[in-house]
C-alpha cells in the first residue's frame, strides 16, 4: 500500500466510472450539467481524494457512487456489478454528521446498523463499543450528541459508518465544518485509523493539504460543468503521520498542486479580460 497506484487499474477495481455524466432538467428551466465525462477507476484498498472548488459536483459524484443518484450518461460499476441501488458494502460519512439528538452516543453509533436491519445483535453491540473506543469516545457513550464538540461529533459519525464494516467508505467533506486545528487532528486520526484498518476510501475535500496528506491519488476537478482536470499520484511514503507533514516533498507537492490549479484559473481570467 505504500506505493502510489499506477494508471493501470488492478483486475477487479472497487469502483469503475465510465464516461459518467449527470444533467438535471428542472421543469420549465434550462437543463444544468452537473457532471460531464467522468471516467475514474478506484482500486481495492486505494485512498482517493476528490479535490475541487465548491460547486464542481464532487459531492454529487460521491452520491452517484453511493447509488443515491442515477447518472444520465455513462455507467458505474462497484466490484464489477453495475450500480442500481445503494449497497450494504458502502458506508457514507456526511459533511454534517447527521447525528440524532434523541439518541445517546452509543445508540447513535448503533443507529445506522439498526436502521438498516431493524435490530441489533449482542456481537454488534460489542463491536460498537470497540469502535467507540477506537475513536476515543468510550467515556461519552451515555452522553447526548449535542454535548460533544464538532470534532467528537465527526468521530462519532465515522464510528457509525465503520460499524457497518463497509468495503468502500465514501466521505463527503467530513472535516470542512471544523476549525483548522481540529481539522488537522482529525486528518491525523483518520490516517492512524486507516493504517490499522485499511479499506477503499473516496474522500471529497476542498483542501489541497488534506488531500495530499490522506490520499494515494488526487482527482482534481473543475467546475460548471464538473469535469476531471487532472489525476495526480501522491508519492509520499506510508504509513503517514506527523512526519509526512514535515517532509519537504509534502510542501513541494502542495505548492505544485496550488500552482497548477491557479495557473489554470489565471489563464482563464486572462482570456476573459483580453476578449473584452
Amino acid at each position: 500500500m505504500s506505493l502510489p497506484m499506477s494508471d493501470e487499474p488492478s483486475p477487479t477495481p472497487a469502483i469503475r466510472l465510465t464516461d459518467v455524466g449527470l444533467t438535471f432538467s428542472p421543469a420549465g428551466q434550462a437543463p444544468v450539467t452537473a457532471l460531464d465525462g467522468i471516467s475514474l477507476t478506484v482500486a481495492r484498498g486505494e485512498f482517493v481524494a476528490i479535490l475541487g472548488p465548491s460547486g464542481c459536483g464532487k459531492s454529487t459524484l460521491l452520491r452517484l457512487i453511493d447509488g443515491l443518484l442515477e447518472p444520465t450518461a455513462g455507467s458505474i460499476h462497484v466490484f464489477d456489478y453495475p450500480m442500481v441501488a445503494p449497497r450494504d458494502d458502502i458506508g457514507f460519512v456526511f459533511q454534517k454528521c447527521t447525528l440524532l439528538p434523541w439518541l445517546n452516543v452509543m445508540d447513535n453509533v448503533l443507529f445506522a446498523l439498526r436502521h438498516r436491519q431493524g435490530r441489533i445483535t449482542a456481537e454488534q453491540r460489542t463491536a460498537a463499543a470497540r469502535w467507540l473506543d477506537i475513536v476515543g469516545l468510550s467515556a461519552f457513550a451515555q452522553a447526548r450528541p449535542d454535548a460533544l464538540s464538532g470534532g467528537m461529533q465527526q468521530r462519532l459519525g465515522l464510528a457509525r459508518a465503520l460499524l457497518l464494516d463497509p468495503d468502500i467508505l465514501l466521505m463527503d467533506e467530513p472535516f470542512s465544518a471544523l476549525d483548522a486545528m481540529t481539522r488537522d487532528e482529525m486528518g491525523l486520526r483518520l490516517m492512524q485509523l486507516w493504517n490499522s484498518h485499511p479499506t477503499t476510501v473516496v474522500f471529497v475535500t476542498h483542501s489541497i493539504s488534506e488531500a495530499l496528506f490522506l490520499a494515494d491519488r488526487i482527482v482534481v476537478m473543475s467546475a460548471r460543468p464538473g469535469r476531471i482536470r487532472d489525476i495526480v499520484n501522491v508519492p509520499l511514503a506510508r504509513p503517514r503521520g506527523l512526519d509526512t507533514l514535515r517532509d519537504p516533498q509534502f510542501q513541494a507537492l502542495a505548492n505544485q498542486l496550488r500552482d497548477d490549479y491557479f495557473a489554470f484559473d489565471e489563464s482563464a481570467i486572462a482570456d476573459r479580460v483580453s476578449s473584452r
Binding site: 445503494p86 456526511f94 447527521t98
Partner: protein, 263 residues
C-alpha cells in the same frame, strides 16, 4: 452597569420573582376598589370578593361535578384528536397521493366555524357527551396534524439520504427518523390544542348540556347571577392553565432533548 444588571441585590431578586404575583394582586385590588368607589351593580361587574363569595356558595360536590364533566369532554376530545392526527400525519407524509387527496378536505373541515356547526352536530349526534367530544375533537385536531406534518417534512436532506443509503424501509424512516424529529413540533401544537379543546368543550356546553363549567356560565348569566358566572370562568381559566402546564411537563419528562428547539 451591566454587572449590576446581571447581579441584582437580594431584594431585587425577590421582587423580580414575585413580580407576576404582585401585578395580579394589584389588578384585583384596583378592580375591587373601582366596584366599591363607583358602587357598580354586581350584574355589570361584580367585585372579586363577590365572585369568591358566589363561588363558595356552591358546594364542593357541585363544583366537582361541573369540573369533572368539562374535564372529561375536553380530555376525551383532545386525546381523540391526538389518536386520529398522528396516523393521519404519517399517512400524509408517506404518500403524495394521500397528501393531495386529504389536505384540501382537511382545510375545508378546518374552515367550518365550530360555533356554527355545533348546533347541527348536536341535532345529528344527540345532546349527549358524544356530540360534545366530537366538537372538541374537531377544533383540536387540525393544529396537531399540520404541525406534525410540518415537523416530519422538515427532516434535513442529509438524514433522508442516510436512510436511503441504508435502504431502510419507509416505516422505519417514519418511526426512527421522521416521528422523533417531529416531537418538538407536535408538542408546540399540543399546547395550542389543549387551549382549543377547552374552548370547544365550553361552546358545546353552552348549547347543550345540563352540567359542566360552560353550562354553569350559561345558566347563571340567564339568571343574572353574574358573580357565579365569573367564578365558573375563573375555574375554567385555572383548568386551562393546568392543562397547558401539564403538556409542557410531559414533554420535559419524556422528551427533554426536544425542549431546546421549542423553548
Amino acid at each position: 452597569m451591566t454587572t449590576r444588571r446581571q447581579n441584582p441585590g437580594r431584594t431585587q431578586t425577590w421582587l423580580f420573582k414575585a413580580l407576576p404575583v404582585l401585578t395580579f394582586a394589584a389588578v384585583l385590588a384596583v378592580w375591587e376598589l373601582c366596584c366599591w368607589l363607583f358602587a357598580l351593580p354586581p350584574y355589570l361587574l361584580p367585585a372579586p370578593s363577590a365572585i369568591v363569595t358566589a363561588g363558595l356558595d356552591v358546594s364542593v360536590a357541585r363544583w366537582a361535578a361541573h369540573i369533572g364533566t368539562t374535564l372529561a369532554v375536553a380530555l376525551g376530545g383532545f386525546c381523540l384528536a391526538l389518536v386520529v392526527s398522528l396516523p393521519m400525519a404519517m399517512a400524509i407524509v408517506s404518500s403524495r397521493w394521500i397528501e393531495r387527496g386529504l389536505y384540501p378536505l382537511l382545510i375545508v373541515v378546518q374552515s367550518i366555524p365550530v360555533v356554527a356547526i355545533t348546533p347541527i352536530l348536536l341535532v345529528m349526534l344527540g345532546p349527549g357527551i358524544v356530540a360534545r367530544t366530537v366538537i372538541t375533537f374537531l377544533i383540536a385536531f387540525f393544529p396537531i396534524v399540520v404541525s406534525t406534518v410540518t415537523g416530519m417534512a422538515s427532516v434535513p436532506d442529509d438524514l433522508l439520504e442516510l436512510s436511503r443509503s441504508l435502504r431502510a424501509p419507509n416505516r422505519r424512516l417514519l418511526r426512527e427518523i421522521r416521528l422523533p424529529f417531529a416531537v418538538a413540533h407536535l408538542f408546540a401544537a399540543l399546547r395550542v390544542s389543549s387551549t382549543l379543546a377547552v374552548i370547544g368543550t365550553v361552546v358545546a356546553e353552552f348549547i347543550s348540556s345540563d352540567q359542566g363549567l360552560g353550562y354553569l356560565i350559561f345558566y347563571s348569566t340567564s339568571n343574572f347571577r353574574i358573580p357565579l358566572a365569573f367564578a365558573a370562568l375563573a375555574v375554567l381559566v385555572i383548568l386551562s392553565l393546568i392543562f397547558f402546564r401539564a403538556i409542557v411537563l410531559i414533554q420535559r419528562l419524556l422528551f427533554p432533548w426536544s425542549m431546546a428547539t421549542t423553548d
